[in-house]
Point group: C2
Chain length 369, copies 2
C-alpha cells in the first residue's frame, strides 16, 4: 500500500487530515509548489524545506521531453535527481500536451503531438503516461485524462469524459509500481450530471485518491466556487481529494470549504518572478515606486528568508536592477504565504472555526486592494 | 581604528594573516565574491555564509546610480540593505565609469560621464567617491583612481599616475568615517618605474591598505605573473595588499606567491552563470553532452550545496532547460572553489609548503584541460 489517508478533523465538509506516502507524511489541506522541470524555479530544496513545503508537483510532459524519464530513472528517480526527499506528485502530461504542444490529435488510443521544444513527433497514451511516471518514481501518479477547453460544447465534454474514463481504466490496469499511488481525475466541465457520471465510474474502480480536473481553464471564479461543493461531494469521503491547477488564495479557501485536501498552481512562483507578492493584507506589487524607500518587510511576521532578512526597498531594487535574487526571494515568500494559508486552514478546521478563518482572510485581502 | 592587519605566517614572500574589520575578522589570503548591485548574483547571504565567504565586494558606481547611495544610507547602510553582516569592501567607481559609462571626460577635478542605465549626466570626483562609500558604510573604501586602458602609451599612464596620486590625497583628506578604512591604489601600467613612483608617494600618505590596479585590462597572464612580485614588493609589508579584479585560479596563486592578500573577480560567478565549473581537476563545461548522464557531482569532495546534493546530469539538465537554479548552484560552487583554493593557500603558507601547493594545483588543472 503506497498511500494511506486519514481525516482527523471536520468543520462542515472542510477536513484536516494526514496523507502518508513512501517519502513521509503530509498534513492536509496543503498546497503543492510546482516544480515543472525538476526544479521549483529558483529555489533549492533547502529553501523549500525552510518554508515547510511537504509535497511538490512535477510535470510529466516536460520531464519526459527533457531530460527524459528513462534518464531520470537511470539517475535514481526524480527525488534523487532533484535532491528532494519528501513526497512528489506527478501529473499525467495530458493537460500540458493540450496547452503547450502543437498538432495535437486525440484518438481513443491516445494523443499524438509535436514537442514544443524541437517539434519532434511524439505520442502519449495512457500506458505511456503510466510508464513515464513509474520511471520518475513519484509518490502519487495521475491517470491520463482529456481536458477539453473551458468553452467546449456539451458533446465535446461528454466525449472527453467517456474517453477519460476509458483511459483511467487502462492506466490502472497498466500500473504496477508498488511504491506509487495513482489518482483518478474527474472531468465533466460545468455539467454536474457529467461530473457525477464520471465520478461514479471512477469511484467504482477504487482508486486511492481522486482529483477534480478542468477547473482552471477559463470559467469565472464565481462559477468555480459555486460548482466546487457539488463536485467535491461526488468523491469518496475517506480518500484524498485534489483540485488540479487552482489557484488564487481565495480559490484555495473555497476549495477547503468544499472538502478539498490538495492544491497546486504556478501562481505563487510565477507572480513572484513578476514582482507580485501575496501578503496577509492583500497582494502588493514590488515594482511600484511607493516601495522604493519602504523599509518594512514584504509581509511582517512572515518567517521566510525574504521577509526575515530584507525590506520592500531591497526587493524593489532587485527587480529594478533585474537581479535573479528578486524572483528567487519573492517565489520563496509567495510559497510561504500559500503554505501558511493552508496551515492556518488546518488549524481552523481542527478548532471548528474555519468559516471565521476564511471570512477573516477575505476581509483583510479586500480591505487593501 | 577601523582596521587592523597582522601577518601570522610567511613562506617566501607569500603570507597568511588576519584582517580585523568592524564586521569581523577575515583570514588572508582570501577571495571576495563580487556583489555588484547589492547582491552576489543569484545567491542569498545564507548561501554565501555556507561556502565560507568572509568578505564581499560592492560596486560604488552601480549602487550610486541605482538605488542610490543616499537611499541605502537611509535604509541603514549596505550591510543591512543586502542582509550581509560580514565585511564589505567597495571600489571607488572609477573603473566602472571608464568601462561602462559613455561620454566620459576626465579632468583633474574628476570624471563627467553619462549613466549606462538612462544616459543622465553625472560627475564622479574624489570627494563624491568618498561620500558615496561613506553612505554605503563599507568596511573598506577605495580611493578614486584613473585606470588607463591596457594599451595606453607611457605618457597617458604617467598622467594617470599623477592624477591618481592627487586624487588619493583628496580622498584621504575628505574621508571622515571612523568605522571605515580607505585603501590607496597603485597604478602605473606595465612600467615598474611608474609603479614605484606611485607607490612611494601613496605609502608616504600612510593608508591602512594598498591595492594594485590596472592588472586586468588586457596584458597577458604571463606578463602579469612576471610583474606581480616586483609590484607587490613596493607595498608595505605590514599592510594588507589587494590585487583588484584578478582573476583566474592560477592568477590568484601567482598573486599569493607575490605576497598579495585580497582578490576579487567576477569570473567564478559569471562563468557559473554560463555553465562553466571550476574543479580540482580543471574546468568543465556542464552544457557538454558528455555530462548528460554523468551522475558524479560537479567536484567530488566539494561541500557546497551544488556538489553535496546534485549530479552533473542534473546541472546539465538545468542549463539545457534554462532554469535559474543552474546559474545559482554553479555560482555557489565556483565561489566555493575559489574560497577553498584560498583556504588551501593559507594552510600551505602556514605549513611552509606553498610552492608545492601551487605546483600541485597547476599540475592537476593542466592534466585535464
Amino acid at each position: 500500500m503506497a498511500l494511506s489517508f486519514a481525516v482527523h478533523h471536520r468543520d462542515g465538509v472542510a477536513r484536516a487530515g494526514v496523507l502518508h506516502t513512501p517519502h513521509g507524511a503530509v498534513e492536509t489541506p496543503t498546497f503543492m509548489p510546482v516544480g515543472t522541470q525538476a526544479t521549483v524555479k529558483g529555489l533549492t530544496p533547502d529553501m523549500l524545506r525552510d518554508i515547510n513545503a511537504r509535497i511538490i508537483l512535477g510535470n510529466t510532459y516536460h520531464l519526459a521531453l527533457r531530460p527524459g524519464d528513462e534518464l531520470i530513472a537511470e539517475q535514481g528517480g526524480l527525488h534523487r535527481f532533484m535532491g528532494w526527499d519528501r513526497p512528489i506528485l506527478t501529473d499525467s502530461g495530458g493537460f500540458q500536451v493540450f496547452s503547450l504542444a502543437s498538432q495535437v490529435k486525440i484518438t481513443d488510443r491516445g494523443a499524438t503531438f509535436r514537442s514544443h521544444i524541437d517539434g519532434s513527433p511524439l505520442e502519449l497514451t495512457p500506458e505511456r503516461a503510466v510508464d513515464i511516471q513509474q520511471n520518475l518514481g513519484s509518490d502519487i501518479a495521475m491517470v491520463l485524462d482529456e481536458c477539453p477547453p473551458g468553452d467546449a460544447g456539451p458533446e465535446v465534454v461528454r466525449a472527453a469524459v467517456r474517453r477519460s474514463v476509458g483511459w483511467a481504466e487502462r492506466c490502472k490496469r497498466h500500473h504496477t509500481r508498488p511504491d506509487q499511488a495513482m489518482f483518478a481525475i474527474v472531468q465533466g466541465g460545468t455539467s454536474l450530471d457529467l461530473r457525477a457520471e464520471c465520478a461514479r465510474e471512477l469511484v467504482a474502480m477504487d482508486f486511492p485518491g481522486y482529483a477534480l480536473g478542468g477547473f482552471s481553464v477559463g470559467e469565472s471564479p464565481e462559477a468555480m466556487h459555486a460548482a466546487l461543493p457539488g463536485c467535491a461531494a461526488l468523491l469518496p469521503e475517506d480518500k484524498p481529494r485534489y483540485l488540479m491547477g487552482v489557484g488564487r488564495p481565495e480559490d484555495l479557501l473555497a476549495g477547503v470549504a468544499a472538502g478539498i485536501d490538495l492544491f497546486d498552481c504556478v501562481m505563487p512562483t510565477r507572480n513572484g518572478r513578476n514582482a507580485l507578492a501575496f501578503t496577509a493584507d492583500g497582494p502588493i506589487r514590488l515594482r511600484n515606486a511607493r516601495h522604493r524607500r519602504d523599509s518594512a518587510p514584504v509581509e511582517s511576521g512572515c518567517p521566510c528568508v525574504c521577509c526575515a532578512t530584507f525590506s520592500r526597498a531591497y526587493l524593489h531594487h532587485l527587480f529594478a536592477a533585474d537581479e535573479m535574487l528578486g524572483p528567487t526571494l519573492l517565489s520563496a515568500h509567495n510559497l510561504s504565504f500559500y503554505l501558511r494559508l493552508m496551515a492556518g486552514a488546518r488549524a481552523a478546521v481542527a478548532g471548528g472555526r474555519f468559516p471565521d478563518y476564511r471570512a477573516g482572510c477575505l476581509a483583510r485581502w479586500r480591505a487593501d486592494s
